[in-house]
C-alpha cells in the first residue's frame, strides 16, 4: 500500500526543486538580462586593442565607493554628461562592505572595479602597497596639495575632525586638550576608531602629534570619556545632552546645526584634523582609459564643483563649507601599516 506514494512524493519534491532552480534562473535573468554592457566591458575591445580608441573613453566602468550617495550620484551624472559614451556602474556601501567586497574579489581573480573612491587614505593605502592601483599623474592632480595625494591615489574632498559642544556649554573647549578639563568629566564622547575610518585618522594624528600620543587617550578615559560607534553618534549624544562635548566630523555637526540641534561646532585652535577622501584607478582595469577619465573628471574643476555642491569641502578650488581655521594632517605614510598596532593600543585603553 505504500507503493503509490513513492513516485508521487518523489515527483513532488523534484518539481519543487525544479521550481526553485527555475526561479533562481529567472531572477538571474531579470537582473542581468537587461544589461549587456557588463560582459562587454570585461572583454573591453576599445581601450587596449585599438590605439586610436585610447583617446576617447567608452565602454563601461565600475566604481566601488564608500562616499555618500548624493555625492557619488552628482559626480557620476556629471561624468556621464561629459562622456556620454561611457556607462558608469556604481557599487556604494559603507567602508567595511566595500573592503569586504574587494577582498573577495581578490580571492577570486582580482578587483572587479575600475575605479575605487573611498573615505580615508588608510583604507586605500594597502591596495597601493600591493601594486593594485595605477601609478600615474592625472592632469588635474598637480593642483592638489602634496599632503592630500600619493603616487596612485588622489584626494577629492576633505573631511575635518573637529570638536562639537552643547550650545549651553560655555565657554566650552577651544582645543583638543580642553576635552580633559574637570568640568567635562564623564561628559565627552569620542568615535570608535575600530568602526569609523575618520576616528582612526584622528588616532593616527594624536599618536604622532607632539604632546599628545597615546597618553591623550589614556587621559580622556581617566576623565570619563565614552566611546560610541561613529562621529554621528557623538553629534547626537551632544545634541541630546548625554555628552557636553566630543570629537566629530564637521559635516556631521553642520547637518545637525542646520536642522536646529542645540550644538556648536568648535574648530580646534591647533587645527582640525583633515582627512582626504582618495580616488584611484585599478591597475588591472580592462578599461583603463575610462577609469582614468573618471578619476581626472573628479579632480577637475567641474568635478570639484559638483562635490562642493553636495556639502563637502573640495580638495582644490572654491565652494563647499570653508575651513574655519588651520587644518593639520597625520603623516599618512607613517601611519600606513601600523593600523593593527595602533588599534590594539587604543583598545587596551577603551576596550572593544
Amino acid at each position: 500500500m505504500s507503493t503509490p506514494a513513492r513516485p508521487t512524493s518523489f515527483d513532488r519534491t523534484r518539481s519543487l526543486a525544479a521550481t526553485a532552480v527555475g526561479l533562481l534562473l529567472v531572477l538571474a535573468a531579470c537582473s542581468s538580462g537587461g544589461s549587456s554592457p557588463r560582459p562587454s566591458s570585461t572583454s573591453a575591445p576599445g581601450g587596449t586593442t585599438l590605439p586610436s580608441a585610447a583617446a576617447q573613453p567608452g565602454g563601461t566602468i565600475t566604481l566601488y565607493t564608500s562616499v555618500t550617495q548624493a555625492t557619488v550620484d552628482a559626480v557620476a551624472d556629471g561624468f556621464r554628461d561629459a562622456h556620454p559614451g561611457v556607462t558608469v556602474d556604481v557599487f556604494r556601501a559603507p567602508t567595511a562592505e566595500v573592503a569586504a567586497r574587494i577582498a573577495t574579489d581578490l580571492q577570486s581573480g582580482g578587483i572587479r572595479a575600475d575605479v575605487l573612491w573611498l573615505t580615508d587614505p588608510l583604507s586605500i593605502a594597502p591596495y597601493a602597497d600591493r601594486g593594485l592601483l595605477q601609478a600615474w599623474s592625472p592632469p588635474s592632480a598637480a593642483a592638489i596639495p602634496a599632503a592630500y595625494r600619493a603616487d596612485t591615489f588622489f584626494g577629492t574632498r576633505l573631511l575635518n575632525m573637529v570638536i562639537v559642544r552643547g550650545a549651553s556649554v560655555t565657554p566650552g573647549p577651544a582645543d583638543w586638550r580642553d576635552l580633559l578639563a574637570a568640568d567635562l568629566r564623564d561628559a565627552v564622547g569620542i568615535p570608535d576608531p575600530g568602526f569609523a575610518g575618520s576616528a582612526f585618522a584622528a588616532l593616527a594624528h594624536f599618536d604622532q602629534a607632539a604632546g599628545y600620543g597615546m597618553p591623550f587617550y589614556r587621559s580622556l578615559k581617566d576623565n570619563g570619556a565614552t566611546q560610541v560607534k561613529s562621529p554621528d553618534d557623538v553629534t547626537t549624544g551632544v545634541a541630546e545632552g548625554r555628552f557636553k562635548a566630543g570629537i566629530t566630523l564637521d559635516n556631521s555637526a553642520r547637518t545637525a546645526i542646520r536642522k536646529g540641534s542645540p550644538i556648536a561646532l568648535v574648530w580646534p585652535g591647533s587645527g582640525a584634523i583633515a582627512i582626504y577622501s582618495p580616488i584611484a584607478a585599478v591597475a588591472a582595469s580592462p578599461n583603463l582609459v575610462g577609469a582614468d577619465a573618471f578619476v581626472e573628471f573628479t579632480l577637475s574643476g567641474p568635478g570639484q564643483a559638483l562635490i562642493a555642491g553636495t556639502g563637502w569641502q573640495p580638495v582644490v578650488g572654491p565652494g563647499g563649507p570653508a575651513p574655519e581655521g588651520t587644518q593639520v594632517s597625520p603623516d599618512w605614510a607613517a601611519a600606513f601599516g601600523r593600523q593593527r598596532e595602533l588599534l590594539d593600543r587604543y583598545r587596551a585603553i577603551f576596550g572593544g
Partner: protein, 552 residues
C-alpha cells in the same frame, strides 16, 4: 509501524541525496570557501588569533550573552505560548499580534528605540528622570536581544501547541484530578520539550550572530563580541591579515553552532523517535478551556494585563521613541508638537526607494516560498527517518543561520561571485543559505508529530501519498507553515548586511537605501526610514498573521 518504517526508508533513499546536494550547494561550498580563507595563512595564525586575549574575550562574551538570551527568550516565549494557546485569556488575538510586533523591526531599529526610550536623555529620563542602568553594556544587549528573539521562541512553541499537542492528554489529567499546575508540569511541558529545545537552538543562534544590537549597545562599554570584532576586521580588510582574522572569527561561529546545535539535534531526534508511538493519534484539536470559575477569570484578566504591560514597556515604548525621533525636526530638541515636522520622511524617501522596495519584496517572497519546502524536506528526513543521516543534514542547515550576514555574504561571493555576481540570484542564494534553518525549525516541531495514525488510515482507505498529505497533513500543518513563511519573509525583508555586500547596479535592495540614510548621519532621517519600513512590513505581515490564526 512496519509499513511506516518502510515508507520512511524509501523516502530517505530518494530525498536524502536531494537534500544533501542542495545543502552542499547552498551552504557547504560557501562555508568551505570561507574556511579556505580562515586557514589560508596556516594553523599558526589561527592559533595566534584565537589565543589573543581580546579575541578570546570577544568569543566568551558572545557565548555567555547568547546563552542568556536563549534562556530568557525561550522561557518568555514558552510562557506566552501557554498563555495564548491554553489559558483562554481575554484579547488573545491582540496578544498574538503584539507578540509578533518585535519581529517586524530590524534589529538596528530595536536597539535605537531602546536607547531613545530608556537611555541617558531618553524618553523616561526626560519625563521622569529614570534611565535603565546598564543599557549600554552586556545587560542591555541581553535584554534587547531577548525581547527580539522571544517571538521566534513563541512561534515555535505556540505552533507546537496549536497544531499538534493533544489536549486529550491534558483533559485526561484534569479529569483524573490533577490541578492545572500539575498538568502543566507532568503533561504539557514534557510534551513540549522538543519544541522548547528547538526554540533554545534558534534563539541561541539568532543571538550569537547578531550584530546591530551589540554594535550600538556594546561599543560605549568597550564590550566586544565575535560579530562586532569581525565587522571591524572587515572594515580593515584592505589589509589581508585583517581579512584572514575575519575568516577565522566566522569559522569560530560555525564551530560554535556545531558544538551547540549538533548535540541538541541528536537529543531531539532520540526524544522524537521515542515519543511517536506513545502519542500518535492527536487531532490537533482546539485548546480546552481550563477552569471556568470566577477565580480563573480574574486570574486570566490579571495575566492579560501583565502581558499588555510588558508589551507596552518592551515593545511599544521603544517604537514610540523611534516615531518621536522621526517626527522631531532635529536631535536634541524636545519631542513636542512645536518641533514636529514631516520633512525627515521626505529625506528618507530616496529616489531608489520604490525600486528597492519592489526588489526586496520579490526577494523576500521568493526566499520564503523556497525555504518552506526546503525546510519541510529536512524536517521530514530528520523527524521521520530516525537515522543519524537526517539529523546531520538538519544540523548542517543551521550553519548558514549561525553566520552573521557579513560573513555569509563574503562566503557566497567567494563561492559564486564568479558567475552570479550582481544578480538577484546571488542574493537569493545567500537568503536561502541563511534562512533555511529558520524555516526548517519553524515547521519541524509540528511536522515531527504529524499524527501518523491519521495518515496511515487515509492511506489504508486508498488515498495516495500526496492526497493523504493534502487532506490530512496540510490542514494540521497550515498554521505553522504559514508562520514559517512569515518569519522567513520578515527576516529576508529587513536583512541589511548581506544584500548591501551582494547587490549589483540593477539589484539594489532596501538595505542600500537604509544604509544611505544612515550614512547621512542624521538619526532623525534614519528614524523616519525605520518608521516607514516597520509600517510597511506591518501592513504586509499582520494580515498574514491573523490569517494564519483564523485557519487553525
Amino acid at each position: 509501524m512496519a509499513a511506516s518504517g518502510r515508507l520512511g526508508r524509501m523516502a530517505d533513499l530518494r530525498l536524502r541525496p536531494l537534500a544533501a546536494v542542495l545543502l552542499v550547494v547552498l551552504i557547504g561550498i560557501p562555508i568551505a570557501r570561507l574556511l579556505g580563507v580562515a586557514l589560508g595563512d596556516g594553523p599558526t595564525v589561527v592559533a595566534a588569533t584565537l589565543t589573543d586575549s581580546r579575541v578570546a574575550g570577544a568569543i566568551g562574551n558572545s557565548l555567555w550573552t547568547a546563552a542568556l538570551v536563549a534562556l530568557l527568550a525561550t522561557s518568555g516565549g514558552t510562557a506566552l505560548a501557554l498563555a495564548t494557546e491554553r489559558a483562554g485569556l481575554p484579547g488573545t488575538a491582540w496578544i498574538r499580534a503584539g507578540i509578533l510586533l518585535p519581529l517586524l523591526c530590524p534589529p538596528f531599529v530595536t536597539a535605537f528605540g531602546w536607547t531613545r526610550a530608556y537611555g541617558p536623555r531618553g524618553l523616561t529620563d526626560q519625563a521622569l528622570g529614570i534611565e535603565l542602568p546598564g543599557l549600554y553594556g552586556p545587560l542591555g544587549i541581553v535584554l534587547v536581544l531577548a525581547v527580539a528573539a522571544a517571538p521566534l521562541a513563541w512561534l515555535i512553541v505556540a505552533g507546537a501547541l496549536a497544531s499538534r499537542l493533544e489536549p486529550d492528554l491534558e483533559r485526561a489529567a484534569r479529569a483524573a484530578g490533577a490541578g492545572p499546575g500539575t498538568t502543566l508540569r507532568t503533561v504539557t511541558l514534557p510534551l513540549l520539550r522538543p519544541a522548547i529545545l528547538s526554540a533554545l537552538v534558534v534563539t541561541f543562534v539568532f543571538a550569537v550572530n547578531a550584530f546591530g544590537v551589540p554594535a550600538i549597545l556594546g561599543t560605549p562599554a568597550g564590550f566586544a563580541t565575535i560579530t562586532t570584532r569581525m565587522y571591524q576586521d572587515l572594515a580593515r580588510s584592505a589589509d589581508p591579515a585583517a581579512f584572514v582574522e575575519a575568516g577565522i572569527l566566522a569559522a569560530t561561529l560555525v564551530a560554535l553552532a556545531l558544538l551547540v546545535v549538533g548535540p541538541a539535534d541528536a537529543w531531539l531526534t532520540g526524544r522524537a523517535a521515542a515519543r511517536t508511538a506513545e502519542t500518535a493519534g492527536g487531532r490537533g484539536a482546539r485548546v480546552p478551556g481550563g477552569g471556568r470559575g470566577a477565580r480563573g477569570s480574574r486570574a486570566r484578566s490579571i495575566a492579560a494585563a501583565g502581558i499588555g504591560l510588558g508589551f507596552v514597556l518592551l515593545t511599544l515604548l521603544p517604537l514610540c521613541a523611534v516615531l518621536l525621533t522621526a517626527l522631531t525636526r532635529a536631535v536634541g530638541l524636545a519631542p513636542v508638537p512645536g518641533n514636529w515636522t514631516l520633512a525627515n520622511f521626505g529625506e528618507a524617501l530616496d529616489a531608489r526607494f520604490g525600486d528597492a522596495l519592489a526588489t526586496s519584496l520579490l526577494l523576500a517572497a521568493a526566499a520564503a516560498t523556497i525555504v518552506l519546502p526546503l525546510g519541510a524536506l529536512l524536517a521530514v528526513l530528520a523527524g521521520r527517518s530516525r537515522t543519524r543521516g537526517g539529523n546531520v543534514l538538519r544540523t548542517a542547515a543551521t550553519l548558514g543561520f549561525a553566520l552573521p550576514g557579513s560573513a555569509l555574504a563574503v562566503a557566497v561571493l567567494l563561492a559564486y561571485g564568479g558567475w552570479l555576481r550582481d544578480t538577484l540570484a546571488i542574493i537569493l542564494v545567500a537568503y536561502l543559505a541563511k534562512f533555511w534553518a529558520l524555516g526548517q525549525r519553524q515547521v519541524a516541531g509540528s511536522l515531527e508529530r504529524l499524527p501518523a495514525d491519521a495518515l496511515r488510515a487515509a492511506r489504508a482507505s486508498g488515498a495516495g501519498g500526496w492526497t493523504a498529505v493534502r487532506t490530512i497533513g496540510a490542514p494540521l500543518l497550515r498554521p505553522s507553515l504559514l508562520a514559517g513563511w512569515i518569519v522567513v519573509f520578515l527576516f529576508a525583508l529587513h536583512e541589511l548586511t548581506m544584500s548591501s555586500l551582494l547587490y549589483g547596479p540593477r539589484s539594489a535592495t532596501l538595505s542600500v537605501v537604509v544604509l544611505n540614510a544612515q550614512q547621512l548621519g542624521d538619526p532623525t532621517v534614519s528614524a523616519a526610514l525605520a518608521v516607514l519600513l516597520v509600517g510597511l512590513i506591518a501592513v504586509i505581515a499582520l494580515p498574514l498573521a491573523f490569517m494564519a490564526r483564523a485557519r487553525t
